[in-house]
């Protein structure tokens, strides 16, 4: 399944979608499938800052656990509280209802350093 073209991606399987002056971040279908049933997502706190390429939280599944990495830098303005009760939303709808957090980008140019959908698909196939 090809990654949606309306957003960009990291090699660590996060996605980042710019909507005006707000960016939305989540994990990809590929990551969700590899993890299998997700049981916990550590969300970043609103008002804190995240740095591109640095871990901002953790994701756990029945099968394994891993860090989540910020695609770009900025201030966290919202975290998806629905994931606290229903972390499986990420498995069901990773690109939509399963979004993880929103931020105000410190530098929109950082989006250029991310992979586009085609490059991400290639990256996934190679792994």
């Amino acid at each position: 399944m090809a990654a949606p073209t309306d957003r960009k991606y990291t090699e660590s399987h996060e996605w980042c979608k710019l909507d005006g002056d707000v960016a939305v971040v989540g994990v990809t279908q590929f990551a969700a499938d590899q993890l299998t049933d997700i049981t916990f997502v550590e969300l970043p706190d609103e008002g804190t800052n995240v740095t591109a390429g640095e871990p901002f939280g953790e994701i756990e599944s029945v099968k394994s656990a891993g860090d989540l990495y910020a695609p770009i830098s900025g201030e966290v303005i919202a975290a998806n509280r629905a994931l606290a009760d229903n972390p499986g939303l990420i498995n069901d709808d990773p690109f939509g209802e399963g979004w993880v957090f929103k931020l105000r980008p410190a530098d929109a140019d950082e989006m250029d350093a991310l992979l586009d959908a085609a490059a991400y698909d290639t990256h996934v196939e190679a792994s």
């Binding site: 299998t36 049933d37 049981t39 916990f40 953790e58 756990e60 029945v62 099968k63 656990a65 499986g88 498995n91």
Partner: protein, 377 residues
């Protein structure tokens, strides 16, 4: 790590692919981790009935006039007292009382069958061969693993569903009993055993008949859905059952592991003296169940603390849907091993969570509920 070509495939390999199974490497075999999702397959096992391919497990057939003596020497269970058509859970130990493997021993009219962990098959065979020679028992030990398949059908509805499409009186098979028979020229061995905490059967049949049997059981109306190794591990952990390589290894004795019920008092098995000493003094550590105050998962190797001191280590952990809580098994210092004791567990990245020691099993499935009176056996 070997290439995909070096891995063994069970007779159900094509069936797993056809059912959408995600195949992974496990103990030298290509096995299905899941088909749809671990949680869905877990739920289907707890609420209905599912089928697992467990053909990767070792199946050794042992025959001969003194086969029973070989097994009585090798196994901690009371083999001399074991009747025809029954199964026993047993440990094979080394001289220090450390566990070489945990196995199921089946006594049948014409032979014995020992079912062991896939990862220990070669080791167990070598161990039995050595004891056979040393004791002069002259038993014939034949590895039947690749010639056979083994299917486990588990769940509260497993017995009823199997009864509608198998030619035998399935409910009539008593708990931990085993029967052999033939259906349409296919010989089978069926035991009322399992590794999920649910009722059900485990059926051994010739490799050539496995795919047909699988298709038959899964495609009938009201049939049984496939479940993979991911669900299997979740289910066994909720049932408080040990897994070799986690709760058991060659440095751990059965008493420390809480498996004294599988160790007879009568001597004559490898490790008997060491185990008797541990029984007498009491083990320094005990295997306990932990319920955590978090939905986060603790995993093997996580340290357990009490009052700032390290008191133990986690051997298995997961999030339990049946308990709606994170659970774990681990070894702790006997002074803090009582039910109700509160401890701390160190998750990854130095997160500390509170936990409580609780009795096992964490969840009582239909196997437990079915036959309360045999629970203490």
């Amino acid at each position: 790590m070997g290439s995909e070509d070096d891995l063994l495939k069970t007779p159900l390999y094509e069936a797993h692919e056809a059912a959408g199974g995600r195949l992974v490497d496990f103990a030298g075999w290509r096995m299905p981790l899941l088909y749809t999702s671990i949680l869905d397959e877990h739920a289907a096992t707890r609420n209905d009935a599912t089928i697992f391919d467990v053909s990767h497990m070792g199946r050794l057939r042992i025959r001969g006039e003194w086969a029973f003596k070989l097994l009585d020497r090798a196994c901690t269970a009371d083999i001399l007292g074991q009747e025809d058509n029954t199964t026993r859970y047993a440990l094979l130990c080394n001289e220090a009382g450390g566990v070489i493997d945990d196995v199921i021993v089946m006594r049948l009219p014409e032979h014995w069958l020992l079912v062991c962990n896939a990862s220990n098959r070669k080791k167990v065979t070598r161990h039995l061969d050595a004891l056979n020679v040393a004791g002069g028992f002259g038993a014939e030990i034949v590895d039947r693993t690749t010639k056979t398949a083994m299917l486990a059908v588990q769940g509260p509805n497993a017995i009823e569903k199997l009864d509608t499409f198998l030619p035998i009186d399935v409910p009539g098979i008593g708990r931990r009993q085993v029967v052999i028979g033939t259906h349409m020229l296919i010989p089978y061995t069926a035991s009322r055993t399992g590794y999920t905490g649910e009722d059900g059967l485990e059926v051994i049949l010739p490799a050539a008949a496995a795919a047909t049997a699988w298709t038959f059981i899964t495609s009938k109306t009201g049939g049984v859905t496939p479940a993979g190794l991911g669900a299997r591990d979740l289910l066994r952990l909720e049932a408080g059952l040990p897994l070799y390589g986690h709760e058991l290894n060659e440095t751990i004795d059965p008493i420390t592991a809480g498996l004294g019920r599988a160790v007879r008092n009568r001597e004559g098995f490898v490790g008997d003296e060491a185990i008797a000493r541990i029984r007498q003094t009491g083990p320094a550590r005990r295997l306990v169940g932990l319920k955590l105050d978090t939905k986060r998962i603790v995993r093997q190797g996580a340290m357990i603390h009490s009052d700032g001191a390290e008191v133990g280590v986690v051997t298995s952990g997961t999030f339990s849907p049946s308990c709606d809580a994170s659970i774990a098994l681990g070894y702790v210092d006997r002074r803090v091993a009582d039910d109700g004791t509160r401890v701390n567990v160190l998750l990854r990245n130095d997160v500390v969570v509170d936990a409580k020691i609780v009795p096992k099993p964490f969840y009582k499935g239909s196997a437990f509920r079915r036959n309360e009176k045999t629970v203490t056996e």
